[in-house]
Amino acid sequence: MSTIKLTVNGEARTVEAEPSTPLLYVLRNDLDLRGPRFGCGLGQCGACTVLIKGEAVRSCVRPVSSVQGAEITTLEGLARGGVLHPLQQAWIDEQVPQCGFCQNGQILTAKALLDRNPNPTDAEIREGMSRTLCRCMTYYRIQAAIKRAATAMQSTRSGNQEVR
């Protein structure tokens, strides 16, 4: 066991774990976060996704020792000041989830996608999301929700510019 220092959702956290422990188990079992979930442990499905430096990272295959000091954001950390992120709001507006188990990965992967490309085409959404799996097959509504959020975020941005 080693002492590992992490920054998760803006908070400094310290845990005792083997350095090789996948980040996923530390987040879930030591830090009591429920957003990231185990789906495959193989980096194939996306259920365990977290954001690190703006990238969607699969925490099931990322040793905890490798992310010391990095700013880690989980689904729980997406809302700001009690206001949902536009993607989360779009997920509610489109009534996206069925069981919901995969949606952590869907939302965070979409977040990284929109941060890179604020106005993706349908093809870019399909491609950018294609490795994040949903076995309830909510893909159609996820894609609609991403477009809805992109529009909402763009109008917020242009609104802000006007204010400036």
């Binding site: 429920r34 729980e76 509610i92 009534q95 959404i125 076995r135």
Partner: protein, 780 residues
């Protein structure tokens, strides 16, 4: 009505989210019910007697603040049934939807309605819910009557407020009438489905919340990370377990070298009974490591457990059946065929397909106080409770199952197996144990939908009319598993407890309303060599058998239409309208209405298939298929692009016309239909469980591909049809939705591929390589 605000969601969903810290997971206590409002004996640390369905208090709690909680014995697998239950019950009770919440499926606080299954949540279980809510309204009106001194007939109710019609200043709220007190009203009914009071139900025309689309209350916590799932349960002193499965199907355990894991940090114990092996550790990652590291000596079986998957259908066609379905014969199909102008035959093959849930099977069991509490997402929580009690020889009232949400559970999943494993391990260790399967275990060992090999034969007269149709199925479904059986769950099999006789399994028949004068349907079940302890164990998978059966029957109707040079829609309509008789649910009339509605929405232009072939690399075409399940009708049209260079199939548009009677929540229904269709599309395009002669080789998302974002159709149109010839009948029933739409998709896509290319694919799935080979063979 307007959607409830986010605050309302949080308030109401807070009632549902079971606290998972040790202190708060206590059934009714954690559900926030005030003392005195629970059903006698159904709270606290146990024992946990059955909740009495003949007590109104078991179903409905009304608080002083005017809010109400409905307790139902169902589970919501993500189709929004909880929201729909609130709608139908709030409507009968006359209370605002926002003031209600719903508690589901935990054996000590909800009546046993069996959990979920069969897409009958509204069709069957919705009725007692409506009746008890109507009864509660009746009782409240009587209380109001004596309180206000106004006869019951002279009062009106709106949103939980009772007032005198003649003098609205005379008013009292439900909360004032009953808040904090029990109804103490006994209901009647021979069984839970028949539960009733004496109040009549409202006529459909009086329902206000039914037919609207309040947003699902379970969605906000699922997108902000606050939802607590069965995977999230944590208990003091809890241990983590992982299974070690036989590496070869049918292998027997020879020895375990425990020294191979003693050095693993946090190692606690190896549990082994018969061929069941599990490793238990303090931390989750330790259990995973120890399970990988444990050295186990297995002896391979003397004979191969099954043929390799590429030989499966040859094997199935030559194997000796273990049982046969009762044939259905109409007219004289042999004579009709003998005298026909044209006879067509075709064989269709559908492989084993699995549930392969996005999150592997899991459960947590707490053995403290000589009782057992199991936290599980199993859709049949009551069956799990009963089965575990039997398995561990415990009194039923010492076992309870707390149902919590989990990854998709469309039928008999490995959640059943994991629940029993957690129970066994917790008993063995004397501490709470959380067990979870690994990905490869889930994909290889979860229950499978049976493989089908179907032979179709049809005969046409000189005018192209169908004079006979024959269906003969072989299903690899011997020893089909039931739900939560103490002698068939995997841990029972591996520890040597098993039924004397394997279940017969079944070979199912198509469901259509076609009027064909001479018809035969027959089927038999064939066994694989290894009957027990096999990863190729079959159980119900979302609309059990429907996709397989309908792939054959509805592909073949299309083949007959093509042979008759008839338009596939007109051909089906002609078969549907060739008879006039109908059943009590107007299934024929509604089938016809759905075929017409789908064709109209799609913009179907009548012509025979295949269409003249396009010249470029991308060939496009459309296909239709139809089926019913119980009283629910689904007609689907797929429009495909087939890449003739790669064999890749993209379904770019889907249309579904759907009639499930009275619709409770249209937006919820739409999504259930969309996702159900795409699940079946995944089965059409990708899914196949592959194996060699020793083991399943489909073990992850690479070796067992699934539909992805890239496959998603650009447009999905859902037409909700009310094909009832008398749509204003006051008791228009709510039929089920969910599984029906899984039936037609495989055939709709195959028919569209044929329309685009002139090539008929009779083997599922339609992966690129298979389609390309077929195109090449046909010179496309």
């Amino acid at each position: 009505m307007s959607a409830p605000s986010r605050r309302d969601f949080l308030r109401t969903s807070g009632m549902l989210v079971v606290g998972v810290s040790a202190a708060s997971v206590a059934g009714a206590d954690s559900l926030g019910l005030a003392a005195g409002q629970r059903t006698a004996g159904a709270q606290g640390p146990g024992p946990y007697p059955d909740v009495d369905f003949r007590q109104l208090d078991s179903w409905i709690v009304v608080r002083a603040d005017g809010t109400a909680t409905f307790h139902v014995g169902k589970t919501d697998l993500g189709q929004g049934t909880g929201t729909a239950f609130r709608q139908i019950m709030a409507d009968e009770l006359d209370i605002a939807y926002d003031k209600t919440s719903c508690v589901m499926g935990s054996t000590d606080v909800t009546v046993d309605q069996g959990g979920s299954g069969g897409s009958d949540a509204l069709q069957t279980d919705g009725w007692p819910m409506r009746r008890v809510a109507a009864e509660a309204r009746r009782v409240l009106l009587e209380m109001a009557s004596s309180r206000l001194g106004v006869p019951v007939e002279g009062m009106v109710v709106s949103d939980g407020v009772v007032s005198a019609a003649a003098d609205p200043s005379k008013r009292v709220t439900y909360g004032e009438l009953i808040g904090g007190k029990r109804f103490n009203v006994t209901l009647s009914g021979a069984n839970v489905d028949a539960t009733t009071g004496v109040a009549p139900l409202k006529a459909v025309q009086q329902l206000k919340i039914v037919g609207t689309s309040p947003q699902r209350y379970d969605i906000p916590p699922k997108v902000d990370g606050t939802a607590k799932w069965a995977v999230d349960v944590k208990l003091p002193g809890m241990l983590h377990a992982r299974n070690v499965k036989p590496p070869v199907a049918g292998a027997t355990l020879v020895s375990i070298d425990e020294s191979s894991v003693r050095g693993v940090p946090g190692f606690v114990k190896v549990v082994s009974q018969g061929n069941y092996v599990a490793v238990v550790c303090e931390r989750e990652e330790q259990a995973i490591r120890a399970a990988r590291q444990l050295k186990v000596n297995w002896k391979k079986p003397a004979t191969a457990p099954f043929p390799a998957s590429e030989d499966l259908f040859t094997y199935m066609r030559s194997a000796t059946p273990t049982s046969a379905a009762k044939p259905v014969i109409v007219g004289d199909p042999d004579a009709a065929r003998a005298g026909a102008a044209r006879v067509i035959e075709a064989d269709y093959d559908v492989p084993f397909q699995g549930h392969t849930a996005i999150g592997p099977a899991h459960a947590t069991a707490d053995p403290r106080n000589d009782q057992l509490t199991i936290y599980s997402n199993d859709m049949k929580s009551y069956g799990l409770r009963n089965g575990v009690a039997r398995f561990l020889d415990m009194p039923r009232d010492r076992v309870r199952v707390v149902w919590m949400e989990g990854p998709q559970a469309y039928g008999r999943t490995a959640a059943d197996d994991a629940g029993f494993e957690a129970a066994l391990l917790a008993k063995e260790l004397g501490r709470p144990v959380r067990v979870q399967w690994m990905r490869q275990e889930e994909t290889a060992w979860d229950t499978k939908g049976p493989a089908y090999a179907v032979r179709m034969r049809g005969a046409l007269d000189t005018q192209g009319h169908v004079v006979s149709l024959e269906y003969d199925a072989r299903a690899a479904d011997h020893n089909h598993l039931g739900y939560n059986e103490f002698d068939t769950v995997l841990v029972a099999q591996l520890t040597g407890r098993r039924k004397a006789q394997p279940a017969a399994g079944r070979a199912s028949y198509p469901s259509d309303m076609y009027a064909i004068p001479n018809r035969r349907m027959s089927g038999s079940v064939v066994p694989l060599p290894l009957v027990w302890e096999t990863p190729l164990r079959t159980g119900n998978l979302r609309d059990p058998d429907g996709p397989q059966v309908t792939f054959a029957s509805e592909s073949f109707i299309d083949e007959l239409a093509a042979a008759a040079k008839a338009d596939p829609v007109a051909f089906r309509l002609q078969l549907l309208t060739a008879a006039r008789d109908d059943d009590g649910g107007f299934r024929r009339a509604r089938s016809i209405a759905c075929v017409k509605a789908a064709a109209e929405k799609f913009g179907w232009d009548p012509r025979p298939s295949p269409k003249p072939r396009d010249s470029g690399d991308i060939l496009t075409g459309r296909g239709i298929a139809y089926a019913y399940r119980s009283q629910t009708i689904a007609v689907e049209i797929a429009e495909v692009e087939v890449n003739r260079r790669t064999g890749h199939v993209w379904v770019r548009r889907l249309v579904c016309a759907h009639d499930c009677g009275l619709v409770v929540n249209p937006e919820g229904l739409r999504r259930t239909i969309e996702c159900g269709m795409l699940h079946s599309l995944s089965r059409a395009l990708h899914e196949e469980v592959r194996f060699d002669t020793e083991k399943v080789t489909s073990v992850d998302w690479i070796t067992h591909p699934t539909l992805t974002h890239a496959d998603t159709p650009g447009v999905i149109d859902v037409v909700i049809v009310n094909g009832d010839p008398n749509p204003s009948r006051p008791d228009l029933p709510h039929y089920g939705a969910g599984e029906t739409v899984c039936k037609p998709m495989l055939a709709a896509v195959a028919n569209a591929i044929f329309d685009a290319t002139g090539v008929r694919i009779r083997r599922v799935p339609f992966r690129d390589a298979r389609v390309l080979a077929a195109l090449k063979a046909a010179g496309v």
